[in-house]
Subunit: 434 residues, 2 copies
C-alpha cells in the first residue's frame, strides 16, 4: 500500500506536480455569499431580534433574549477551577508561556526631534474592543481560545468579547477555562454570520467591536470578508499544512508522527517531507505504514496523506530551502544538524521549528508562539497572529515655526504641482514671510 505519493525534484514535471499538489483556493460560493449578505443586512437593521431568530433557526436554540445566550463571567472562573488537576496545570502553564512570549511583541510609541525642533513619531495604542470567533463542533479547541485572545489581552484591549455556538458540557468547560485564562470579558453562545454581524455593527446588547478574529466555516469567512472595513479582520484561514525538511538523521518515527500530527486535523490538511536522502524517505515511509494503524484518527490521516501529502526527494538541503520559500508553508520543521543556519535562508514561513527535538505540536500548545499562522502560501505576505494585530499606530507630527517655514515652501511647490491650492495656501499662511 502506498499511502503517500513520492516526488523527485529532479524529474522534469516536478514543479508542475508540486504546483498542483499545493493548489487550494477557498471558493467564494455565490450562494453562501448571498445568504450571508442577507443576514448581515438584517442584523444591521433589526439587531438582537434578528440574532435571536437566526440562532433559533440555525443553532436550534430558542432564547427569549440575548441575556439568555450570555455565559456569566463567574462561570468562566468556575470552569477553570473545576478542571481536573492535570488539565488545569497544563492549561495554566501553556497560558503563562504564551503570555510571556507575546509580551515580547508589544510595540511602543516612538518619536525623534529634528534640528529645527520639529518632532515626528508614532503613537501606539491598543484597540478598544475586539470579538473572538470560536467555532462550534470539532474545531472548538481551548488552545485556539488561548491563542486568539491572549495577544489581545497582552496588547491591552479594553474588552474582549467571545462568540461561539453552544456545545456539549465537557468540551465547553475546557473552552471556558481557556477564555478565563486569556482574559475574555464576555462570552455569548451565538455563531455564524449573525454573530459576525452583531460584532461588526453592534446591537442593543452587543457593542460594536473594532476587530474580529478567529476561524469559522464558509459562512463566517464570507461574513468577515464583507464586514472588512467596518471592522478589522484577521486572515481567512485555509487548511493546515506542515513542510518538514530533514537531512535524514532524525528518527524516522518522529518525522512520521510529525506528518500525522498535521494530517490528523482533517482530510484537506497537507503534510510534505523534503529530504535529499532516498533511503531515509524509505524509512519514513515504513514508519508511516507501521504507525498509521495505531492512530485513533487513522482514517483522517490516511485520507489527508493520500490526497495532499508527499514525500519528496530533493537534490540538496539548499534546494529544499528554495522549495520551502516557494511553498511558504504554515509550519516548517527544520530537522537538520544546523537548523538556525538553515532558518536564515528561509524567507517565507508562518513558523519555523528548528532542530530534531522541536515537534510542531509543541508550538500548537505551549512553546509560546501563536498557533494562528498564515496558510495557503500567505506567509509570503502575512504574519502569525500577534500583539501587533491588536495595536495600531497614529502618526505624530509637530512642526516648529522654523520647520513650518522650510517645509511649507516644499509643500507649496508640490501642492501647486498637483493642483491643490488649498493645500498650498494652508502651508503658505504659516511661512515666516508670506
Amino acid at each position: 500500500m502506498a499511502t503517500l505519493r513520492r516526488l523527485d525534484s529532479r524529474s522534469p514535471g516536478f514543479r508542475a506536480e508540486l504546483s498542483q499538489l499545493l493548489a487550494f483556493e477557498s471558493a467564494q460560493d455565490p450562494k453562501v455569499d448571498a445568504a450571508v449578505q442577507a443576514i448581515l443586512a438584517d442584523v444591521k437593521q433589526r439587531g438582537d431580534e434578528a440574532v435571536l431568530e437566526y440562532t433559533r433557526r440555525f443553532d436550534r436554540i430558542d432564547a427569549s433574549s440575548m441575556a439568555a445566550l450570555e455565559i456569566p463571567h463567574a462561570a468562566l472562573q468556575a470552569a477553570y477551577e473545576q478542571l481536573p488537576e492535570r488539565a488545569r496545570q497544563a492549561l495554566t502553564l501553556a497560558a503563562e508561556r504564551v503570555r510571556r512570549y507575546h509580551e515580547h511583541q508589544k510595540q511602543s510609541s516612538w518619536q525623534y526631534q529634528e534640528a529645527d525642533g520639529t518632532v515626528l513619531g508614532q503613537q501606539i495604542t491598543a484597540l478598544d474592543r475586539v470579538g473572538i470567533y470560536v467555532p462550534g463542533g470539532k474545531a472548538a479547541y481551548p488552545s485556539s481560545v488561548l491563542m486568539n485572545a491572549m495577544p489581545a489581552q497582552v496588547a491591552g484591549v479594553g474588552e474582549i468579547i467571545m462568540v461561539s455556538p453552544a456545545r456539549a458540557g465537557d468540551e465547553q468547560q475546557l473552552v471556558l477555562a481557556a477564555a478565563y485564562l486569556a482574559g475574555v470579558h464576555r462570552v455569548l453562545t451565538i455563531g455564524g454570520a449573525q454573530a459576525v454581524a452583531a460584532l461588526a455593527y453592534g446591537t442593543a446588547s452587543i457593542p460594536q467591536v473594532d476587530k474580529i478574529v478567529g476561524p469559522g466555516n464558509a459562512y463566517v469567512a464570507a461574513a468577515k470578508r464583507h464586514v472588512f472595513g467596518v471592522v478589522g479582520i484577521d486572515m481567512v484561514a485555509g487548511p493546515s499544512e506542515i513542510l518538514v525538511i530533514c537531512d535524514g538523521r532524525t528518527n524516522p518515527d518522529w518525522i512520521a508522527m510529525d506528518l500525522f500530527s498535521q494530517a490528523e486535523h482533517d482530510e484537506i490538511a497537507q503534510a510534505i517531507l523534503l529530504s535529499p536522502d532516498g533511503d531515509f524517505i524509505e524509512q519514513v515511509s515504513a514508519s508511516i505504514e507501521r504507525l498509521l494503524p495505531t492512530m485513533p484518527r487513522a482514517d483522517i490521516i490516511r485520507a489527508s496523506l493520500a490526497g495532499r501529502g508527499a514525500l519528496i526527494q530533493v537534490a540538496s538541503l539548499d534546494e529544499a530551502c528554495d522549495i520551502a520559500n516557494w511553498i511558504a508553508p504554515e509550519h516548517l520543521e527544520l530537522s537538520v544538524a544546523d537548523a538556525p543556519a538553515m532558518a536564515a535562508k528561509i524567507r517565507h514561513a508562518g513558523a519555523i521549528f528548528m532542530g530534531r527535538y522541536t515537534s510542531e505540536s509543541l508550538g500548537d500548545y505551549c512553546a509560546g508562539p501563536n498557533h494562528v499562522l498564515p496558510t495557503s502560501r500567505t506567509a509570503r505576505f502575512a504574519s502569525p497572529l500577534g500583539v501587533y494585530d491588536f495595536q495600531k499606530r497614529s502618526s505624530l507630527i509637530m512642526v516648529s515655526a522654523e520647520g513650518a517655514d522650510t517645509l511649507g515652501r516644499v509643500a507649496s511647490v508640490l501642492a501647486h504641482g498637483e493642483g491643490l491650492q488649498g493645500h498650498a495656501r494652508a502651508a503658505e499662511l504659516r511661512l515666516k514671510t508670506n
Copy 2:
C-alpha cells in the same frame, strides 16, 4: 450664506446628528462585483491576452503586446532629470524626508533563550514583490506614488511593480519622477480590475506579487477585496477627512484654510472643527466666507463643506478629545497650546498634527510620515501605511532536549484533551523516558 452646518455638543440631538454626519459606508455594488469577478476569472485563465483586451475596451489603448504597455525604466530617470528645477528639488527633499521617517519603522528579528536552552523569537523578512496601484485621472498624484512605494523600498522589497492607466504627458512626468525616487522597478500602463488580477495571479509578462497597495475606483476596490488572501491588500480607502480641535487662539484664517485643504479633495471629503469658543467659531466662519471665493476649487470645497462639514461648539477641550476618539479621524489637527498633552489623550486617529504651525498639508507632502491613512473610523483598528506593511514575521522555535521533555508533557495532556493523538504522540516520542 451659511456654508457649514453648526452643531453644539450640548444640544440633546447632538450624538445622533454627528452619527448621521459621519455615516459613510462604501456600498459594495453587486453589479460592479459581478463584472469584477468575471474580469478576475478571465485574466486568471487567459493572462496577458485578457489584460490586453480589457485595456483596449476600458482604457481605449490598442496595444499588441504587454511590452508595448510597459514604460522602460530609463524613462523614469529621464522624467526625474527633466523636471523643472524647483519641482525636482521639492520632490527630492520630500522623498528624502519620507525615507528618513520610514527608516524608523523598520522592524528587526528578535529572539530570547530560556534557562533550559530553548530559543524563541520572530524572524522578520521583507515581501519579495509588491504591486502599487496608481489611479488615473485627477487622483494620480506624484505624492501618492512616493507614499505608497517608499515604505516598500525601505522594507527591502525585492521588486516593486507599479500599474496605472495611461495619462497625459505632463502629469505622467511627475508621476514617473516620483516612481523613480521611490525605487519602483517596473511601470505598466494598465489599470482597473484587470491590472489587479494580473498582479494577483500573475501572467506571462507580469509575475505574481505578494501584496497590492494603493487607491482606486470602485472596480479596483472590489477586485482587491476579492483577491485578498491570494495576495495581501491594504485598506479600502474611503473619503478623506480632517478633524480640527482648536482652543480658539489660532489665526482663524489658518483653520479655515486647513478645512479647505481637506474639502478640496472632492465633494464627499469631510472637514470638521471642534472648539469650545463660540466667538472663535464665528471668526472661522467669517474667514471661510471671505476666503472661499478666492479658491480655484471653490465649487468642490463648497459642496464638501455643505454636504459633510461642520463647525461644532463643544463644552471643553476634554470633551473634544472624547468626540475625536469616537470619530477616529484620518487627520486630527490639535491647534492648541499644549498639543502633546492633548495627543496623549487620543486613542484613535490616523495622524495627529500637533500645534498651530502644523498644517495637515505638510503631512501630505513632505513632513515625513505617510499620507496613506485609515479613513471612515477605521483608525479604531488600522494604522498608517508603513514599512511594517511590507515586512512579515515567522515564529522561531528551537526546543532543547530538556525543553522537549518538560513542554512535551504539557502538550501531551492538552492534545489528548482535544482528541488529537498524533499531536500528543509527536511530543511524547521526544520525551526523555517515554
